[in-house]
């Protein structure tokens, strides 16, 4: 029986359990609700929970573990002489899986009968043509060893599925029966359901934390891996970035990329922070209710535009416009449309709604009594904003700015389209440069080997970015804490 059918059966069981548990609880007190420990629905949920959750957990674990176990034992069928290393075995095993899959399909489509499929012989049947007929294309003729392994895989999968069905159904029914037997007036169903919910929440939180941990660990290990192939000093302090260096001389210095990242982000923040902040002050302190009503959503629409659209905007409009002023015909500072300025300006525009809507929320959270106090002393509106409202909102605003900085550092599309791909250490803001993120993309989109330094360097770059944004976030937290101590 397939997993989806099992799931449907379990759901039905849970539904049935809910009704049964509820009714049984009610019946046990003759319909008098006050004698029950919990509300009747809790007894129902308790039964449904015990019938469904353990069985589904078993189903999930089995579904993950079964292919691994079967793969391991099927690969044992392939003789050692048949392959040189792990990589070759992996290729053979993927063939095995395709053959097994193809045979299943052939049986399902009626091309082969179930018994025919088990006694195939590579000498007498053209398996490649047969499987091609059911839509499974193979790269080469099927070797007898591969067929044997595939057959073993099919047999094991079939029995595995049967055992799984049996165990899952047993778990579901077992939980169901235990829960129904437990159901009586004194059962603390409410507390049981409560702890079930607690476990669910803990589970969700640990998945979030564990995946983050996993990502960080994989970053760290691959970075270490990279540093074993490439000297860390050259990476951290190298001033040239040219991965395809001639004659084996390879330069993977991060400094030009880091400089590009910081320069472009800085331009973006110089654009976004004042404009965003002033917009927020206008919207929350000066604008009438109606103005605010349409201006705020309008600003937030900017935040919904995909960054690739901003990239297009940078490439086709902002770049040429800058060139017409600063290019060869004008001041002569700019060579092409792609430059730090192009990307920085557009990225700044992208960040405006981010800064303004966060700051607006924070400014609005400053209590009205604070403003009243200032007005009551004869302060004007701008004095009140500058000396009372903004200082009170400062920690939040700093947090918003640092968040915007994190986004600027992580931005890729606008950089690729607006700033180009040239890794360069230059002070001229009209020169083309590139950033860490853009280089991560270009290092991994070629057809380079994933074990080479040119590919592994992406992890080191990712690690650098991660440390950079982590540092910014820690700084934001520190600033917020410091001011909070002072102000609350």
């Amino acid at each position: 029986m397939s997993a989806s059918w099992l799931l449907i059966i379990l759901l039905a069981l849970a539904g049935l359990g809910f009704l049964l548990g509820r009714n049984r609880a009610l019946a046990s007190v003759g319909g008098d609700l006050r004698k029950l420990h919990s509300l009747p629905n809790y007894y129902g949920f308790n039964v449904a929970m015990l019938a469904f959750v353990p069985a589904v957990l078993v189903l999930g674990l089995w579904a993950v573990a079964q292919p691994m176990v079967i793969d391991a034992s099927a690969s044992g069928v392939i003789p050692q002489t048949y392959y040189q290393d792990e990589g070759a075995l992996n290729l053979i095993m993927s063939d095995v899986r395709r053959v097994a899959e193809g045979l299943d399909l052939a049986v399902a489509q009626g091309v082969l009968s179930a018994s025919e499929a088990t006694v195939l012989n590579t000498q007498t049947t053209d398996l490649r043509a047969l499987l091609g007929g059911v839509g499974v294309a193979l790269g080469s003729e099927v070797a007898p060893e591969v067929l044997a392994a595939a057959q073993k895989m099919r047999v094991m999968t079939a029995t595995g599925n049967w055992i799984m069905t049996a165990i899952v159904l047993a778990a579901g029914l077992g939980g169901f029966l235990v829960a129904v037997r437990m159901t009586q007036a004194t059962l603390r169903a409410r507390n049981l359901v409560e702890s079930g919910i607690l476990i669910l929440l803990i589970g969700a939180a640990s998945i979030a934390i564990l995946t983050t941990l996993g990502i960080v660990l994989s970053l760290i290990f691959n970075t270490i891996n990279f540093f074993s192939l490439f000297p860390a000093g050259d990476f951290l302090f190298g001033t040239t970035w040219s991965p395809e260096g001639r004659g084996g001389s390879e330069h993977l210095g991060i400094l030009p990329l880091l400089w590009g990242t910081i320069y472009i982000s800085l331009v973006a923040l110089v654009v976004a922070v004042p404009i965003g902040l002033f917009a927020a002050v206008y919207l929350s302190e000066y604008a009438s209710r109606t103005t605010r009503g349409f201006a705020k959503p309008l600003l937030e629409v900017l935040a919904g535009i995909p960054t690739i659209v901003y990239g297009l905007f940078a490439l086709t409009i902002v770049g040429p416009m800058l060139v017409s002023v600063f290019g060869a015909d004008g001041l002569g500072w700019m060579q092409g449309t792609r430059s730090v300025m192009t990307a920085g300006l557009v990225m700044g525009v992208m960040l405006i709604p981010f800064v303004s809507s966060l700051s607006d929320d924070i400014i609005n959270a400053v209590p009205q009594t604070m403003r009243d106090g200032s007005y009551g002393l004869g302060a004007t509106q701008s004095e009140t904003v500058r000396q009372v409202v903004l200082p009170a909102a400062l920690p939040g605003i700093v947090g918003a700015i640092l968040l915007a900085a994190s986004r600027a550092i992580g931005e890729t599309m606008i950089v690729v389209m607006g700033a180009g791909a040239a890794a360069r250490l230059d002070l001229n803001p009209f020169a083309a440069m590139t950033t860490v993120t853009a280089k991560i993309v270009s290092q991994l989109t070629g057809d380079s080997d994933f074990a080479s330094p040119e590919a592994l360097v992406a992890f080191a770059l990712g690690m650098t970015l991660f440390i950079l944004t982590l540092g910014l976030n820690v700084l934001a937290l520190y600033i917020v804490r410091k001011y909070r101590e002072q102000y609350e």
């Binding site: 209590p367 009551g376 002393l377 004869g378």
Partner: protein, 265 residues
């Protein structure tokens, strides 16, 4: 009749500082102040009393246009300060509020140091020529607010870190630091212990030498102690206004009598 003649006699004693004529206040549909006529004298303490929600704070906030900050609030009628309509288009509410200071019902210190809280008004209005003068103003104001001894060693500590009663006195000090001509105090002693209350009442008495003070209070004893004039509000109406001694000993309106004897409220 007797009440009217008393007001007239008082008026000859001191100039009229603020005069309100037929004031109506609406919060949206809610008619919060109805037909209020009152004359507040210079160098006099006027007490506003009345049950909760009767509109004392609302009327007080009209006197320095603090109601401008509330969108839904509409005001009709005339309020004259020294004979000039404060709701006139030519009047700058900012300057008005520098002249008519206010202590709010809920203490609202700024998230700044105690010193900066008090120095806020003088700095905005340029009342001090140098740091020494500013220090002097701050110390004097904190002394008048009866809080100097408690905070003199921690002027750099945040004002929001003080206790509720200390915050209230800090707000009083902040308001007197700008030397307003009229000081509006909305329940300034609601969170104070008897000692601090006595000190604030002393301050009010001192302020009376030069300024006019309007105080909202729920304490009949306080109104009787500090004020020369008392106004009794009920459901948005000014029920009775006159000499404090007369209101407390011989009220004209039966509603005033039941309120001060504790039967309504």
């Amino acid at each position: 009749m007797t009440q009217m003649s008393k007001i007239e006699r008082a008026a000859t004693m001191h100039d009229i500082k603020i005069s309100a004529k037929d004031v109506q206040v609406y919060y949206g549909e809610n008619h919060a102040i109805k037909d209020v006529n009152v004359e507040i004298e210079d160098k006099t303490v006027t007490a506003f009393i009345g049950p909760s929600g009767c509109g004392k704070s609302t009327f007080l906030r009209c006197l320095n246009r603090m109601n401008d900050t509330i969108d839904i609030c509409r005001i009709k009628g005339d309020i004259l300060l020294d004979g000039e309509d404060i709701y006139d288009k030519r009047v700058d509410p900012v300057q008005l509020r520098a002249k008519v200071g206010m202590v709010f019902q809920k203490p609202n210190p700024f998230p700044k140091s105690i010193y900066d809280n008090v120095a806020y008004g003088p700095r905005i209005h340029g009342l001090a020529r140098n740091k020494a003068e500013l220090d002097e103003i701050v110390e004097k104001s904190l002394r008048r607010g009866a809080i100097w001894d408690e905070v003199k060693d921690r002027l750099d500590a945040p004002g929001t870190g003080l206790s509720g009663g200390q915050q209230q006195r800090l707000c009083i000090a902040r308001a007197v630091a700008t030397e307003p001509e009229v000081l509006l105090m909305d329940e300034p002693c609601s969170a104070l212990d008897p000692i601090a209350t006595a000190q604030v009442e002393e301050l009010i008495d001192e302020l009376r030498q030069n300024f006019s003070v309007v105080i909202v209070t729920h304490s009949m004893q306080q109104a009787a102690r500090v004020s020369q004039k008392t106004a009794f509000f009920h459901l948005g109406n000014l029920v009775e206004f006159g000499e404090t001694s007369q209101i407390f000993t011989n009220p004209v309106d039966p509603r005033t009598e039941s309120y001060i004897t504790g039967r309504i409220g």
